[in-house]
C-alpha cells in the first residue's frame, strides 16, 4: 500500500527514491546530539584534557604536564575522603534498598488485607523525595540542632534520654548525614520495589502454597529471586545518585566537623571552586566517573543473562 502512495507522491516521500518507511533518523536526533554534545560530551572530553595540565581558575593557559595525576592521587587526605564516600554511599544505598523493600512488602500485604493507611504512607515518603536537596539539608539541620530545643534532642529529652551531638561529634555526624539521605531517597526504591512486586506472576505463589511453603519460605524462594533484576537495577540507580549527592551535604554539614562528612563530590567542588585548582579537580572528576562506571559494571555482571542487553 505504501508503495502505491510512494508512486503518487514521490516528492514528499524521499527524492532519492527510498521507501518512506526508512527515513534517516539523524535530522530528528540532531537537537539531542547538539545539546548533549555541547554540554556533556565536549566538557567531559575537556575534563580528561585538563587532567594533564596545571590549569587553575585564576586564568592563564596552563601547561601540559603528567604530574597532576600523581600529585592528586598521592594527596594524604584522599584516603579519608574515599572512606567517607564509601561509608556514606554504602550506608545510604543499603538503608534505602532495605527500607524501600520493607515498605513495599508491607504495603502490598496491607493492600491485600485491606488495611488502612497505605496511601498515606506512600505519599508521605514521596513528599520527602520531592523536597529539594538544599531544603532537605536545611530541614535536617534544624532537626539535628544540638540545643535543648532541637527537633530530635527535645524529643529524646521528652523520652528521658540524653541529648546526642548529631553534627558536632565526628563519629556520629556521618550517620546523621546518612539518616537524612535515607529519608530523602527511600521513596524511589519503595516505588520501584512496589512495581516489581506487583509484576511477579501470582501463579508462582499459588504453586508455593500448594507445596505448603510458609510465608518466610515464599519470601526467600519466590519473592526475592523474582525481585533480583529490579533490586540490581535499583541499586545501580541509587548508588550513582548517592555518589553524586552534593547539595544535601553542603547544606547540612558542609563536610564537617573537620572532614568527617566530606564526600568525593564535595571535595572535588572545594578543590575546583574554593582552591581554584582546575587540573586537580579534573583528576578527581575522572575518579568519580571511574567509580560510578566500575560500580555499574559490577552490578550489571550480577544481572540475569536474559536481562542483559
Amino acid at each position: 500500500m505504501s508503495a502505491s502512495a510512494a508512486r503518487r507522491k514521490p516528492s514528499i516521500l524521499g527524492a532519492s527514491g527510498r521507501q518512506n518507511r526508512l527515513p534517516s533518523p539523524y535530522p530528528w536526533l540532531m537537537p539531542v546530539i547538539l545539546v548533549m554534545g555541547l554540554f556533556y560530551l565536549y566538557p567531559v572530553i575537556d575534563v580528561f584534557r585538563y587532567a594533564f595540565t596545571d590549569l587553575t581558575l585564576l586564568g592563564g593557559e596552563g601547561h601540559y604536564t603528567l604530574s597532576t595525576f600523581g600529585n592528586v592521587l598521592r594527596r594524604p587526605e584522599l584516603a579519608q575522603i574515599l572512606w567517607v564516600t564509601f561509608v556514606f554511599t554504602a550506608g545510604s544505598v543499603i538503608g534505602q534498598q532495605v527500607i524501600g523493600l520493607a515498605i513495599a512488602l508491607v504495603v502490598v500485604r496491607a493492600e491485600k488485607r485491606r488495611l488502612f493507611g497505605t496511601t498515606i504512607l506512600r505519599t508521605t515518603a514521596l513528599v520527602a523525595w520531592v523536597v529539594p536537596g538544599i531544603a532537605g539539608g536545611i530541614i535536617w539541620k534544624m532537626l539535628f540542632n544540638e540545643a535543648p530545643f532541637g527537633g530530635l534532642n527535645s524529643l529524646l529529652r521528652l523520652m528521658g534520654m540524653a541529648p546526642v551531638q548529631w553534627l558536632s561529634d565526628p563519629d556520629i555526624a556521618m550517620w546523621s548525614v546518612v539518616l537524612s539521605n535515607i529519608w530523602r531517597g527511600t521513596a524511589f526504591s519503595m516505588v520501584v520495589m512496589y512495581a516489581a512486586l506487583k509484576a511477579i506472576d501470582p501463579t508462582l505463589y499459588e504453586a508455593a502454597e500448594m507445596d505448603g511453603a510458609t510465608a518466610r519460605q515464599k519470601l526467600a524462594f519466590v519473592t526475592l529471586p523474582q525481585l533480583r533484576p529490579a533490586i540490581l537495577v535499583n541499586m545501580i540507580l541509587i548508588t550513582i545518585q548517592t555518589l553524586n549527592t552534593f547539595d544535601a551535604i553542603i547544606a547540612l554539614s558542609g563536610g564537617g566537623p573537620g572532614r568527617a562528612t566530606e564526600v568525593l563530590s564535595l571535595y572535588t567542588f572545594n578543590v575546583v571552586f574554593r582552591n581554584y585548582d582546575l587540573a586537580a579537580g579534573s583528576v578527581l572528576s575522572i575518579l568519580m566517573l571511574a567509580i560510578s562506571l566500575g560500580l555499574a559494571l559490577v552490578y550489571a555482571a550480577f544481572l540475569p543473562k536474559e536481562d542483559r542487553s
Binding site: 500500500m1 505504501s2 502512495a5 518512506n20 526508512l22 527515513p23 534517516s24 533518523p25 530528528w28 536526533l29 539531542v32 548533549m36 554540554f39 556533556y40 566538557p43 567531559v44 575534563v47 520493607a102 508491607v106 500485604r109 488485607r113 488495611l115 493507611g117 504512607l121 508521605t124 515518603a125 513528599v127 520527602a128 520531592v130 529539594p132 536537596g133 538544599i134 531544603a135 530541614i139 535536617w140 534544624m142 540542632n145 540545643a147 530545643f149 527537633g151 529529652r157 521528652l158 520501584v192 512496589y194 512495581a195 516489581a196 509484576a199 533484576p229 529490579a230 553524586n244 552534593f246 547539595d247 563530590s265 567542588f269 571552586f273 579537580g281 579534573s282 572528576s285 560510578s292 544481572l303
Partner: protein, 280 residues
C-alpha cells in the same frame, strides 16, 4: 483458627511498621511547619510546643516582604519552566525517531543517551564554568537554562519514547498514505496524542529545575538573578538561632511548590518513573 490468629498478628505488626515509617518520613516536615508557625519565644520550647499556642503567620510575611525572596521564587519558576519547554523541544523529535524508525545502532544510541545520567553535573560544571565565564554567559539566565536542558534531556527522551510506543503505528501509516509528511504526522498526530506524556515530562523537568542548586550556584552570582535553591542556601548562611523560625518559613515556601506540583500529577509521574527501572 491458628491461621486467622497469625493473620491478626501480621496485621498488628504491619500497622506498627507503617506507623513507625510514617513518623520517620513525616516528622521532619511536621517539625518544619511547627517551627514556621512559632513566635520567637516558642522556638525555645522544643517539642513541648509542637502545636504552637499562638500560631503566627508573621514569619511568612517577614520572608515574603524581605527584599529578595520573591525575586528568587520568580527566577526559579522562570528557569525551570523555560528549561522544561526547551527540554521538550529538544527531546520530542528524538523520542519520535526512537519510537518509530528502525535504524542501525538504535539501541546503542538510546543507551548512550541514558549513560549521560551517570555523569555527575559537577563533572561537566568544571569545564563549563570556564567556558561560560569566557563567553560572558555568567550572570545571565541563558547559560543556566541551557545546562538545565542538557541535564533533563536523557530522562525526557526516554519518557516520551515510552509514551509514544503506546500510540498505535497504524495512525502514522494511515496519515502517511494520505500524503502527510513525517514532520506533519509528528506535529499533528503524535504530539497531540502524547499530551499526558508531555505533561508529566514537563512537570518532572520543572521539579528537577526547581531543585537545582549546583548549576545556578556556580553560574549566577548576581543576587537579582539567583533562583530559590541558591537563595535559600545563602539565606540560611546568614541566619542564627534567634531567627530559625523565619528560616523555617522560607524553607517551607521553597518546598511547597515542588510538593504541590508533584502531588497534582503523582500518578503520571510514578508510572513514568517506574517504567524505566522495572523494564530494566
Amino acid at each position: 483458627m491458628k491461621r486467622r490468629r497469625r493473620d491478626r498478628l501480621g496485621d498488628i505488626l504491619s500497622y506498627a511498621f507503617m506507623a513507625l515509617m510514617f513518623v520517620f518520613f513525616s516528622w521532619p516536615l511536621i517539625w518544619l511547619l511547627s517551627m514556621a508557625l512559632r513566635t520567637r519565644k516558642e522556638v525555645f520550647l522544643g517539642v513541648a510546643r509542637l502545636i504552637p499556642k499562638s500560631p503566627t503567620l508573621d514569619n511568612f510575611v517577614a520572608v515574603l516582604t524581605s527584599s529578595q525572596f520573591l525575586v528568587y521564587l520568580v527566577n526559579a519558576l522562570k528557569l525551570s519552566c523555560l528549561s522544561a519547554v526547551g527540554c521538550l523541544i529538544v527531546a520530542a523529535p528524538a523520542a519520535y525517531a526512537f519510537s518509530r524508525f528502525d535504524f542501525k545502532g538504535k539501541g546503542l544510541w538510546m543507551l548512550g543517551i541514558l549513560a549521560f545520567q551517570m555523569i555527575s553535573p559537577l563533572v561537566i560544571m568544571v569545564p563549563l564554568y570556564r567556558y561560560m565565564s569566557r563567553l560572558g554567559l555568567i550572570d545571565g539566565h541563558f547559560g543556566t537554562t541551557m545546562v538545565y536542558i542538557a541535564l533533563g534531556v536523557p530522562v525526557v527522551t526516554w519518557l516520551l519514547k515510552g509514551y509514544m510506543d503506546g500510540i498505535p503505528r497504524s495512525l502514522d501509516e494511515a496519515a502517511l498514505i494520505d500524503g502527510c509528511s513525517r514532520l506533519s504526522v509528528f506535529v499533528r498526530i503524535i504530539l497531540p496524542l502524547s499530551t499526558p506524556g508531555v505533561a508529566s515530562a514537563f512537570i518532572i523537568t520543572v521539579i528537577a529545575g526547581w531543585s537545582q542548586f549546583l548549576v545556578p550556584f556556580l553560574l549566577i552570582t548576581k543576587d537579582s538573578l539567583v533562583p530559590i535553591g541558591v537563595g535559600i542556601f545563602q539565606y540560611a548562611g546568614t541566619q542564627n538561632a534567634s531567627t530559625i523560625q523565619i528560616l523555617a518559613a522560607a524553607c517551607l515556601i521553597s518546598v511547597v511548590p515542588a510538593i504541590v506540583a508533584f502531588l497534582a500529577l503523582q500518578r503520571l509521574i510514578l508510572s513514568a518513573m517506574t517504567a524505566g527501572a522495572v523494564k530494566g
